[in-house]
């Protein structure tokens, strides 16, 4: 497979970090942004261009877009817009600031990046990383709504950009990234059923780079455990 230039948001931890690692393992060139400072990255973080930036503001999203265009030379083969924030709590326990933050990071920033990166994505792939919570979740209504909005956004954009840029909305199933705990969810027995982050990232990356397949896909147990691309690629996870 020809090496591609892959741009990842939210690549400092969780699924984003595994996406970065999977892309590097597959021989791609990766540029990545995340909220963590460079000094707080894992010790084994790959030696790749990295920008520390919070996507919760329009300025932050525009800064990331400028940086991605500059560091890609204006041609991005695949943008994996993965950065997300969210809290596992009912609406009554939400705060106005948290509601704004979740919508800013999970929806507004992705809308800004898609708009700004449109020229750079010509002939490439845009993958919006959603969540299976987009169908509705009483325990995290704001996060779920933000992911549903991302799904509706990508659904429309996939049709608008068809023939020019492959747009996919990929909804990973429950994955052991630690995000659920960071979002305030108490660990329980169901955690044992969570999919490992590494094969999930590989399945998401394969779906993002595929030129065939549905615009909106759930990447869960079946896709991760029986990922056909995994068997076709030498040295894959």
């Amino acid at each position: 497979m020809k090496a591609k230039l892959i741009f990842v948001t939210g690549g400092a931890s969780g699924l984003g970090l595994e996406l970065v690692r999977a892309a590097r393992r597959n021989g791609h060139r990766v540029i990545c942004t995340g909220r963590r400072g460079a000094q707080d990255l894992p010790v084994d973080f790959p030696d790749i261009p990295y920008l520390s930036c919070d996507l919760a503001s329009e300025d932050g999203a525009n800064k990331v877009a400028d940086w991605a265009i500059q560091n890609s030379g204006g041609q991005i083969d695949c943008a994996l817009l993965n950065a997300a924030d969210g809290y596992f709590r009912p609406m009554t326990l939400e705060t106005p600031d948290a509601i704004m933050r979740v919508l800013s990071v999970n929806l507004d920033a992705n809308m800004i990046l898609a708009h700004r990166l449109y020229p750079a994505l010509s002939g490439g792939h845009l993958a919006l990383i959603g969540s299976v919570a987009h169908k509705g979740a009483a325990g995290m209504p704001v996060y779920a709504a933000s992911k549903a909005a991302l799904d509706g956004f990508g659904r429309a954009l996939a049709e608008e950009w068809r023939g020019r840029t492959y747009v996919r909305v990929l909804h990973p199933g429950p994955t052991a990234t630690g995000m659920a705990e960071r979002a305030g969810r108490r660990p329980n027995a169901a955690d044992k059923l969570f999919l490992a982050a590494r094969p999930m990232a590989q399945a998401v990356l394969d779906a993002a780079l595929a030129t065939k397949g549905r615009d909106r896909q759930v990447i869960s147990y079946g896709r991760v455990l029986f990922n056909p691309a995994r068997w076709l690629r030498k040295g894959a996870a």
């Binding site: 609406m91 009554t92 106005p96 509601i99 929806l107 898609a114 987009h134 509705g136 509706g152 068809r162």
Partner: protein, 246 residues
């Protein structure tokens, strides 16, 4: 006396809802709208649902506290931005997301925190048929309405359990409103759009309080097809709508 709160009451479906509520002797209505009242009505709160200014939301919360609790809340205010996604100014897309999704979330948060939802009451989310069909040519609008529909689904059980408040999701197709006329493709037939007064009557009547309401037989057929064949439906929308819009 049933107290009704309606967002976006100056035009279209909201205007029809306000008119029908005012015509009923057992209903008192409170309107939240970005525009001041045309007739100087005292039951009107001027507020931009897309604002991110905390002070303005605090002011709205104070104003609502004197009007509630509400037996019926209709989250109706909405705007659109149509055209090729990359050619529509980003500010317009962000405004759509904020008015149509952030605004209802902030308002619901206020209503819950201030105990302004009456026990046995109802919250109606005005979403769109685009939830079932997709809406190429209005990507930010489609996003906001999908988000709103998901919010309704997520809050259905918690609101029922916590305060015996029922939640309803309304997904109308194109209505004969100034909003639809503004964003429809050139030459689109207005006589095929549903009358907002009819939709308003259906919302206010709702004797069985079913969760999902898709007004109109044509819209229900489109919703059923979109549910069964989502990608095919969006491709059809691309051909019959997006190409005409751009």
């Amino acid at each position: 006396m049933a107290r009704v709160l309606i967002t976006g009451g100056s035009s279209g479906l909201g205007q029809a809802l306000v008119a029908q509520c005012r015509a009923q002797a057992d209903m008192s209505v409170c309107v939240v709208d970005i525009a001041p009242p045309a007739d100087g009505a005292s039951d009107w709160i001027t507020h931009d649902m897309g604002t991110r200014d905390a002070d303005r939301w605090d002011a709205l919360a104070d104003a609502l506290t004197t009007q509630g609790p509400f037996d019926l809340v209709v989250l109706n205010a909405g705007i659109n931005a149509t055209g090729r996604y990359e050619q529509v100014p980003l500010a317009a897309h962000l405004a759509v997301a904020r008015v149509n999704l952030l605004g209802p979330m902030r308002l619901l948060h206020i209503l819950l925190h201030k105990n302004l939802l009456a026990s046995g009451g109802r919250v109606v989310f005005i979403s769109s048929l685009s939830v079932f069909t997709g809406y190429p040519g209005a990507a930010s609008y489609a996003a906001s309405k999908d988000g709103l529909a998901c919010l309704a689904r997520s809050l259905r059980k918690p609101l029922r359990k916590a305060g015996n408040v029922s939640v309803q999701l309304v997904c109308p197709g194109p209505m004969d409103t100034p909003h639809a006329t503004r964003h429809a493709p050139e030459g689109a037939r207005a006589d095929r759009r549903i009358d907002p007064a009819k939709v308003a009557r259906m919302i206010l009547a709702q004797p069985d309080r079913r969760f999902l309401l898709v007004p109109g037989a044509g819209a229900r057929m489109a919703a059923a097809f979109g549910r069964t064949f989502p990608q095919t439906m969006t491709r059809i929308m691309g051909k019959v709508l997006f190409r005409k819009l751009t």
